[in-house]
Symmetry: C2
Subunit: 213 residues, 2 copies
């Protein structure tokens, strides 16, 4: 079991562009970080879309899904901006009736609520007592498989800052955003990494590192 942060980042180190806020969580230009993924079969299939490319990028996404036994995400990634959840903590997230997750998803939040079941037996589980509690619950659900910190920036930064990650996969998109939300914020720890794997395509570069302790 490894705790993995897997996130798309610009060449200049941003995971969201300038003026990111609840209504526009990716910020100005931030959608360019994710363009590499939308055409892939491994992204389209769990989102209920047919077809798509089967490239090395596709293999990376598919492999990530098969290794993942539980997902952790921030509350904003769950609710998708300032939508109804701001007014009503029982309102739905933006993931619709068939969320593209094959495992439980642990959502870091300050609003306690009952788990929300997904079709297929998994659930969104809302965790109000911190990132270590979320990790413990996710580990327990994941068994032998990995726990994925899916984002957003805040969740990834918190696990980075607490030095809890075992593995870091950066999908480096060929864009400079100039400003915005940095993945590596002040206060993130220093330390050696081990290069685990590099996969290159014309659209994105996948860099995977093991954290050396």
């Amino acid at each position: 079991m490894s705790l993995i942060s897997d996130i798309s980042v610009s060449v200049d180190g941003f995971v969201a562009g300038p003026d990111a806020d609840l209504d526009d969580p990716l910020g100005r230009g931030g959608e360019q970080l994710h363009e590499w993924i939308f055409g892939l079969a491994s992204w389209r299939d769990p989102h209920g879309l047919e077809g798509g490319e089967t490239t090395p990028d596709d293999d990376i996404v598919r492999e990530g899904r098969s290794r993942t036994g539980a997902v952790i995400m921030g509350r904003r990634m769950y609710s998708g901006g300032s939508g109804p959840w701001e007014q009503d903590s029982n309102a739905e997230g933006w993931w619709g009736e068939e969320p593209p997750f094959a495992t439980n998803v642990y959502v870091l939040t300050h609003h306690a609520r009952e788990p929300k079941p997904m079709p297929g037996g998994n659930a969104f589980v809302f965790v109000t007592d911190g990132i270590e509690s979320a990790l413990e619950q996710a580990r327990s659900a994941a068994g032998e498989r990995d726990v994925l910190v899916a984002g957003g920036a805040g969740a990834a930064q918190q696990y980075l800052a607490a030095d809890l990650l075992d593995e870091l996969q950066l999908h480096v998109a060929p864009v400079r955003l100039g400003d915005g939300v940095r993945l590596f914020a002040p206060g993130a720890p220093a330390g050696s990494l081990e290069i685990d794997r590099v996969v290159a395509s014309p659209a994105v570069t996948h860099l995977r590192y093991r954290v050396v302790r």
Copy 2:
């Protein structure tokens, strides 16, 4: 002719560690950014050392040297810290009697001085009227070959901020420095890049991008 910035950077985006100053220009832990290069034949040879590894990393360095028709560097990279140049602007840099450059080197500085010849016919040329002037002189010397911004951080940042670079080669060392001098400082421009080449080794990942205009 392309203007290229070629620099080693940590996974978290730093080109020098914390507490970098004139006496310790790489900052705390910053030497880890450059460890990948010292064992290479292509680094050792121009530094008057025998032997060394002939790996893909070595090919990258060798190729860079052969493409380069002129080098631009910051004054601190020339003088190597707070040494004698602080007191005496005619004192030597730290490059010794046989500097490892096969071309002219244009040094960005506020101190006017005569060019300093190197063995073999090239020279350090001191440029006091700004980065565009240095570029113009370097271009003229380079002919068909490329102009390399060799560092340090300040020089690379200035050419980035002025959006003069055609190509960006990042040697990403598998280390997080946590804090220090960022290559992509606030004010650097946004924009698309094109992935030109990715070369991976166990020691470092070489990412080369073309700036899209």
